[in-house]
């Protein structure tokens, strides 16, 4: 009997993933705007490795990969993470408007950290509650609050004189150096949120910690547990406040000491839905959302806006000369580098999109980052240009904007789930920046203290994260 094997046994010789453990999620860092080669199909179509989405390279340099997805896989099935990614502007807009076909999911967006929030309701239930929260952040109630926002900003900047920490503020030879994050942007939005919600001042430090932990605990992150704990602490704290407000309402006051309106928690305590008062849990969850959504995003918007403007001197000069351009700069910043990557949806039915069959109930990630860089909508999307003629920068509309060649950016989303804090964050970023500009003479980035890109010289691109620290020099006197 012959023992000859009809096939060569080396077909089984394939190295195991464990032989090179480091190779699992490691991708080389590429120059900005270039993608790692992940292989090609015989017809030349580039392949897309879902592991890249978890890599450091992707965090700092995401846009060439999103372009790859938009061009070749407008609906990409990530088999590793059981997710479908939708990356084109038009598709995402359609899905956002169709909240029946693409509904939100329980805790899908916050992995339990934010709790049961508005983000996770759909249809009638969502519409019924939407205005409970949103109405306090727009229109007249917002205009009433602008002086309070300005007062907070001025107060924080005046406090620079009293900060004794060279990592935050320092002065020498007529030049001041400030780390805009720690000195201003990290806390400013949180203070505004606290004030608008009606939280006592002494709770603000805890708040800062809670919202940081909750933000970093979202998704399948390593710090998920920390996020859950922070959320629990916030909940315990807010529960006490809510109970107190139910008994005794509190008010917001203007500078002259006249009451403007009741604070938001008080108003929520008095609100009825279907004849019932809101439960403490409902109020807490949505406060968690306001804390999370109102803090991180606005912080990122302020830092990113200054980081980008100061790297484009002529645009910064234009803003200095024309106060109204801050609005445009704000929107272009959010288009170019927003802090919110996208929103998850579940498809209610089996759907076929761009030839990809998506079974009902699948997780579909709408990638706002990618929509904002869709060259089908925005010319030369990787360029920061506040003068661009294809971006709508007026009042944020739930219906979106698509006229005379201008489109809304997607940082606030569009449709039923449009960000209710869009207006207040706009006001915070713009009013805050105007006041900053008065104080900072001839501001410029202190390049020496900023993190560098892989070449060791140029400034690091913003990528998916907002700028963590922004060191600025300015002239004293």
């Amino acid at each position: 009997m012959s023992g000859g094997c009809p096939f060569a046994l080396d077909i089984f010789a394939e190295p195991a993933a464990t032989d090179d453990p480091g190779a699992q999620f490691n991708f080389p860092l590429m120059p900005e705007g270039e993608a790692v080669d992940m292989g090609h199909a015989p017809d030349g179509t580039p392949l897309f490795d879902p592991r890249i989405l978890n890599s450091a390279e992707f965090m700092r340099n995401p846009y060439p990969y999103y372009r790859l997805l938009r061009d070749h896989y407008p609906v990409f099935h990530d088999r590793l993470c059981n997710t479908y990614y939708v990356t084109r502007y038009e598709d995402i807009t359609n899905c956002y408007f169709d909240d029946e076909g693409f509904n939100t999911i329980p805790k899908g967006s916050s992995s339990g950290v934010l709790g049961n929030t508005q983000l996770e309701l759909s249809g009638v239930e969502h519409r019924r509650r939407r205005n409970l929260y949103g109405q306090h952040l727009v229109g007249r109630s917002l205009r009433n609050r602008i002086p309070a926002i300005q007062r907070q900003a001025r107060g924080m900047i005046e406090a620079w004189e009293r900060i004794d920490d060279p990592r935050v503020v320092s002065k020498s030879n007529g030049v001041g150096t400030v780390e805009l994050g720690r000195a201003f942007a990290n806390e400013f939005p949180i203070r505004v949120v606290c004030e608008v919600l009606g939280f006592p001042k002494e709770a603000q430090d805890d708040f800062y910690y809670w919202y940081n932990s909750m933000m970093s605990g979202l998704g399948g992150s390593q710090t998920h547990q920390q996020g859950l704990e922070a959320r629990q602490h916030l909940e315990d704290y807010v529960e006490g406040i809510v109970e107190a407000r139910r008994k005794e309402p509190t008010w917001l006051y203007d500078e002259a000491g006249n009451p403007i309106s009741k604070d938001i928690i008080t108003k929520l305590c008095e609100t009825r839905v279907d004849g019932d008062f809101l439960s403490t849990e409902e109020i807490t969850s949505n406060i968690a959302l306001v804390v999370g959504g109102g803090g991180e995003t606005t912080r990122g918007a302020i830092l990113n806006m200054w980081y980008l403007l100061l790297q484009h001197a002529e645009q910064f000069e234009a803003v200095c000369n024309d106060d109204a351009l801050w609005d445009t700069a704000f929107h272009e910043t959010l288009r170019h580098s927003s802090s919110i990557g996208g929103q998850p949806r579940h498809n209610t039915y089996d759907v076929v999109m761009h030839g990809v069959k998506v079974p009902a109930g699948s997780l579909m990630q709408m990638v706002d980052f990618s929509a904002n860089h869709d060259e089908r909508i925005f010319k030369d999307p990787e360029t920061f240009n506040i003068f661009r003629d294809d971006l709508y920068s007026g009042k944020i509309l739930r219906s979106g904007y698509n006229r005379d060649g201008r489109h809304n950016h997607m940082a606030f989303g569009v449709g039923p789930h449009l960000c209710p804090g869009a207006w207040i964050s706009h006001q915070e970023a713009v009013e805050g920046s105007r006041i900053l500009l008065k104080h900072l003479k001839n501001p410029r980035i202190n390049v020496g203290r900023m993190p560098k890109d892989i070449d060791g010289e140029s400034l690091r691109p913003i990528g998916l994260m907002s700028v963590r620290e922004l060191h600025l020099d300015y002239d004293l006197g």
Binding site: G3, P6, T18, L47, P106, G112, G220, Q225, L228
Partner: protein, 441 residues
């Protein structure tokens, strides 16, 4: 352009924008899932780590003992790890479904899986039963004269694949080509784009290869699997090469390959085990059953919720992916005493083929997901061949008996390290290196 087209469950397009109740959830439903569950003991990234691929059991222990239904946010799935939970989902076709491998591969060529047709099942059973002993002898004689061998490759892997070749009755000159394409296609059932691409190409190659062969067998059928498919009498016309390729893709040969490799790893690890199966030949079958339990090659199965269901204290949404970990269930101390120990003649393991709910005579069986759930029939129906479970078990016994008879003084190569591993995340957990030395009997 209309970007989306909505197809309902019955295949009819649903007009967009119609307002209905579908898809909306009530707030009360949300309230039932509270934040509470802690996840401090494990990070989801660990479940796709190289450490997990090497030895998944410590991680699965953490899940099973702390988080019976672990919400893995990173991989967007739920892990179910207790024996009774896992088996309940496997046998619950009303609430959960298994998506075919070709969905994962993205093989959208219209072929259908004929693996459930009786003539196909019969051809597989006969082909395997009739040739297992001969092919095992052939494989063993390939290295018996050398005094040393790598059982993982030269015995387990080779035997399983050769069995398949034989089942298809392919000419020897095509063996290399077929084996390469077949393995590439199987490996393509993954999230790795390069492997998937190769898998799709290989499936195309196989289809082209089988087209003329299928015609020849149709004209002149034999007893093999290709002939069985070629001559299949179906309502919707004759089976095509596509159907054959899809059927091959869904066929499970990993279990036999992995079980043989793991069985011999466990037998050689401890000389007492090998001696016990030498002394008592009927123990070989028990050792195979214990391998199914202790070292199941296919670690887990993916099941998708057909609709929103509440299980194990969690609300699993429609379309939710439930990863049923056979490996974790098989080591559940609630079911098996000292579950991490490999005991050849285990008293709390069912020694007959399980029926219905994975149990017979009140005893649990090892979960081997590659072989499907146990038959619901109380006995084997006369007009059907034996189950995949019985075939895999008996084939492993036959082949191992051949090896046992042919070699004396069988032992692990001194200093050599056996290598049980999933070569990639999602692939089977099998011993891929098992160097041994022996004397020819």
């Amino acid at each position: 352009m209309k970007a989306t087209e909505v197809i309902g469950a019955n295949g009819v397009a649903i007009p967009q924008g119609t307002r209905g109740s579908a898809g909306f959830r009530t707030y009360e439903v949300h309230q039932r899932e509270r934040v509470g569950q802690s996840t401090e003991k494990i990070k989801p990234i660990q479940l796709v780590s190289p450490e997990f691929a090497r030895n998944p059991y410590p991680f699965l222990d953490i899940l099973r003992e702390n988080y019976p239904c672990f919400r893995d946010w990173l991989s967007n799935c739920y892990w179910v790890t207790r024996y009774n939970d896992v088996t309940s989902i496997f046998t619950d076709d009303a609430n959960f479904e298994t998506r075919p491998k070709r969905w994962m591969l993205g093989l959208d060529n219209g072929g259908s899986n004929l693996g459930g047709e009786v003539p196909v099942l019969t051809a597989i059973a006969n082909g395997i039963d009739g040739n297992a002993a001969r092919l095992a002898e052939q494989a063993v004689s390939g290295f018996a004269g050398r005094g040393r061998a790598d059982l993982a490759i030269e015995f387990a892997a080779r035997f399983a694949l050769e069995l398949l070749l034989n089942l298809l009755d392919l000419p020897e000159r095509d063996a290399d080509r077929f084996a390469g394409h077949y393995l590439a296609m199987k490996r393509g059932v993954t999230w790795e784009p390069r492997l998937r691409q190769r898998g799709l190409e290989a499936a195309g190659e196989l289809e082209r290869y089988f087209e003329p062969l299928l015609e020849r067998r149709r004209a002149d059928p034999g007893a093999d699997l290709v002939s069985a498919i070629a001559t299949l009498d179906r309502e919707d016309g004759r089976a095509s090469a596509r159907d054959l390729v899809v059927t091959l893709l869904e066929l499970d040969f990993d279990t036999l390959h992995g079980t043989l490799a793991n069985l011999w790893l466990r037998l050689l690890e401890e000389s007492g085990r090998l001696q016990s199966v030498r002394d008592e030949p009927r123990f070989l079958k028990l050792a195979v059953l214990e391998t199914f339990r202790h070292s199941t090659p296919v670690l887990q199965a993916m099941r998708f919720a057909r609709h929103e269901v509440e299980r194990f204290g969690r609300l699993i949404p429609e379309g939710g992916l439930v990863v049923c970990s056979a490996a974790a269930g098989n080591r559940d101390p609630r079911i098996f005493r000292n579950p991490d120990e490999f005991i050849v003649n285990r008293k709390d393991l069912c020694h007959r083929e399980a029926r219905g709910q994975y149990r017979t005579d009140g005893l649990a069986t090892g979960i081997t997901v590659g072989l499907g759930p146990p038959s619901k029939h109380p006995a084997i129906p006369e007009d059907r061949p034996r189950s995949a479970f019985a075939i895999a078990r008996d084939t492993a016994v036959t082949a191992s008996a051949v090896l046992l008879d042919a070699l004396d003084d069988l032992q692990l190569e001194p200093g050599a390290e056996p290598y049980p591993v999933c070569r990639r995340i999602g692939e089977m957990h099998a011993c891929w290196r098992l160097p041994v030395r022996f004397r020819k009997a």
